[in-house]
Amino acid sequence: MICEQTPTNQEPVIELSGLTKYYGNQRAVDDLYLTVRKGEVFGLLGPNGAGKTTTILMMLGLSEPTSGSAVVCGLDPVRSPLQVKRKVGYMPDDVGFYEDRTALDNLLFTAGLNQIPAGEARERAERLLETVGLAESARKKVGAFSRGMRQRLGLADVLIKKPEVIILDEPTLGIDPEGVRELLALIRSLSREDGITVLLSSHHLYQVQQICDRVGLFVQGRLLACGNIDELAESLNSSGTITVEMTVRNAPDHLTEDLFSIPGVSKVLADGLDSGKSDGSMNIQVICQADVTSSLARAAVQSGAELTAINRRTYGLDDIYHNYFEGSGRDEHTG
C-alpha cells in the first residue's frame, strides 16, 4: 500500500520505502511505504501488535530494518542515527523518568545529553514546564506525578532539544478524557505554531481524529489505508453499498414491494410490521447499490405512509475501524 497523496506540496520529512522487519519468521512490518510532509500531524492507527512501535524504532535507528529504507529529515537513520536523533524527538509509550529526581532535573539531564549549555538548558526547561502546565511541579519528584503529568513532562522532554519532528508513541494511553483533550490540544498547537511535524501512534481512533491531518491504518505490519478521515470514509462508502434507514407510520402493505421496485435497491428489510407497535410505526432498512435516498422518500410518501425519519447511514470512524481491523490479530507481543 502506497500512501503519498497529500494536499500540500511541502517537502517530505519522513519517507519510508519498502520498509520491512522480521523477527525470526514473524513479520512485524511488511513492505511499508509512507510519506509524511513538513508541518503535518500524521496519525498511525492500529491495534496492539500492528507493528507501530517497530516502525517508529526503525525511523529512529534504534532497530534495523530487514529490508527497505527510511529517510528522516533527509538522513538515513541506520547510517547516521545521531544526526537523526538530534532532529527527532521521541516519546516512548509509557514514558519513564528517574523517579527520585525532580521534573526539572529530568529535563536538564535530557538537555545535557543533547549538549545544550547549562544556562540555556535551564531557561528552556523552565519555559517548557510552563508550556505543558507543570510549572508548579517543576521541583517535585517525578515519582509523585500522575500519569497525565508524566505524559506532559514527556512532551516537554521531547521538545527541549527543539526537534523538527516529534514522534509520540501512544501519547494518550491511560489518561483521563480531559487530560487527553489537553494533551492533544497542546500537540496541535505545537504543530501549528512551531511548524513541528508530528507523527503519533494510537489505537484510539476518536482521540486521534481530532488533531490529525492524515491517518494511516496499520494492521499486522501492513498499511491498509491512508489519507484524511473524510477520504477514508469516502473510499469506504463508494466501494460498498449504501444503507438507508427509514421509519414510517401507517404504512400500506405494498410499501416494501414499492421500495424494492426502485432501481438500485438490492434488499429491503422491514421490522415492526408484525410486531405491531402501538403507534403503528415500523423501521425499514434499504440496502442499495446507488444513492437513491430521495427516490425512497418519494416512494414512501406516495404510498400513503407517514415518513417520520429517513437517514442515509454514512460510515463513521467506528465503521472504518471495524471494517479495516476486523479479524486482525489481537495478539500483543509486539505492541
Partner: protein, 354 residues
C-alpha cells in the same frame, strides 16, 4: 603604486566580496558552536555524572560503605592489638607498617581478607540493576532516543561505578594508613607506600571484575532480583565453595605415598592451576605477595631450588614480577566480563518497558 579598485578584474572583486560576506556570517556562528561543544560535557560524562549522583544518594551504597568501614575498623583494631602483643617474628621488623593490613590477633580477620570478601559485594551492589532498572522504568528507550551512541550508555555506567569503587577503596586504604600512623607511630617507607597503592589498585581491578559481572547479569536478566541473586551466587561459589570443591577433587587423584617427586610436583601444580581459575584466589595470592614481602614464591619449590636462596624479603619489583601473571589474569577477567556485557547490550533491541 596604488591600483584603483576598479582596475581589479570584476570576478576577483566579487569573489573577495563574497569571501568577506561569508566570513562575516560564518565566523561568529562557528565560534559559537565550537564554544558550546567545548564547554558542554559530552553525553558520556553527563551520564557518568548522573550515575555518580544516583549511587552516592542511594541507601544501598550508604549501607554498603557502612558495612565495609565497620569491617575495616574492626580489622585495624585487631591488627593493632596483634602488633602491640608482638607478632613474634622479629625478621619482619622492616615491614611493620604493612602489618596493619595483614596482621590479626585472631578475633577478627585482617584487612585484606575483608577487602577480598566484601569488595565483590560492592561491585555487585553497584552493577546488578544498572541496565534492567532503566529498562523496566522506561528510561532506557527515552535516553537512547537522545543523540548519543549506544555504547556511551554502557561504558558510562561502568565508568561511574568503577570511579566510585576506586574512590571507596582508596579512601579506605588511606584511612587505614592514617590510622596506622596514629596508633603505631611508625611511618611507612616509600616502598611500603608503593606496595599499599599497588594493593589498592589491584583491589579496584578485582572489584571491577565483579562489577562487570553484575553488569552482565543486569543486561542479561530483566528482573533486578534475578540479576542480584545470580551475582551473589557466583560470588559465594568463588569465595566459599570453589576451594571446597577443588579440595574434594584433589583428594580423589592424590598421588600415593610412594609417588615420586615429579609426580607430587605435577599434582601440586595442577591443583594450583585449578585454584587459580578463581579470581578470588588470584586476588588473594596477589595481595598476599604485595603486602607480605617475605613471600618469595607462590608455587611449590623443590629443595634444589631453595638451596642457596637467601631468606630475605623481596624488593617491590620482584614481588610485582611474581604476581604479574595474577594481575594480567585479573585484568583479563574484568575485560572479558565487560566485553560480554557490551556485546550483549549492543545486540539487544531497545523497546519501552520490555
Amino acid at each position: 603604486m596604488n591600483i584603483p579598485d576598479s582596475s581589479l578584474p570584476l570576478l576577483k572583486r566579487l569573489r573577495l566580496q563574497i569571501r568577506n560576506r561569508t566570513n562575516m556570517i560564518n565566523e561568529p556562528d562557528r565560534k559559537k558552536v565550537e564554544r558550546q561543544a567545548r564547554h558542554t560535557p559530552s553525553p558520556f560524562w553527563v551520564i557518568v555524572h548522573k550515575e555518580l549522583g544516583d549511587h552516592i544518594h542511594s541507601w544501598r551504597f550508604g549501607i554498603l560503605v557502612g558495612i565495609v568501614v565497620l569491617a575495616c575498623i574492626g580489622s585495624i583494631y585487631s591488627a593493632v592489638i596483634a602488633l602491640q602483643q608482638g607478632t613474634g617474628n622479629s625478621d619482619s621488623e622492616n615491614y611493620l607498617f604493612l602489618k596493619m593490613f595483614t596482621a590479626s590477633d585472631g578475633t577478627l580477620p585482617n584487612f585484606i581478607t575483608f577487602v577480598s570478601f566484601l569488595g565483590p559485594l560492592i561491585g555487585i551492589a553497584l552493577g546488578f540493576d544498572a541496565v534492567n532498572t532503566e529498562r523496566t522504568k522506561g528510561t532506557l528507550s527515552r535516553m537512547l532516543s537522545q543523540p548519543l551512541y549506544r555504547d556511551d550508555f554502557i561504558t558510562a555506567k561502568f565508568t561511574a561505578a568503577l570511579l566510585l569503587v576506586a574512590l571507596v577503596i582508596f579512601s579506605l586504604g588511606f584511612s587505614v594508613m592514617g590510622l596506622g600512623l596514629f596508633t603505631i607511630g611508625y611511618p611507612p617507607t616509600p616502598e611500603e607506600f608503593g606496595r599499599v597503592v599497588i594493593f589498592l589498585l589491584t583491589a579496584v581491578i578485582y572489584v571491577g571484575f565483579w562489577l562487570n559481572l553484575s553488569l552482565y547479569f543486569s543486561v542479561r536478566f530483566r528482573q533486578a532480583a534475578t540479576s542480584a541473586l545470580s551475582g551473589i551466587a557466583l560470588w559465594l561459589f568463588f569465595t566459599v565453595f570453589y576451594s571446597l570443591i577443588v579440595n574434594l577433587l584433589a583428594k580423589s587423584f592424590e598421588p600415593g605415598e610412594q609417588a615420586g617427586t615429579s609426580q607430587i610436583l605435577s599434582y601440586q601444580q595442577t591443583l594450583l592451576f585449578i585454584n587459580r581459575l578463581s579470581p578470588a584466589e588470584l586476588f588473594t595470592e596477589a595481595t598476599t605477595t604485595l603486602l607480605v614481602p617475605e613471600v618469595r614464591s607462590l608455587g611449590p619449590l623443590t629443595m634444589e631450588q631453595v638451596i642457596g636462596a637467601i631468606p630475605s624479603p623481596l624488593p617491590l619489583g620482584q614481588s610485582l614480577l611474581l604476581i604479574w601473571p595474577h594481575l594480567t589474569g585479573l585484568i583479563a577477567a574484568a575485560s572479558l566480563a565487560f566485553a560480554l556485557t557490551y556485546a550483549l547490550f549492543m545486540r539487544q533491541e531497545i523497546r519501552s518497558r520490555s
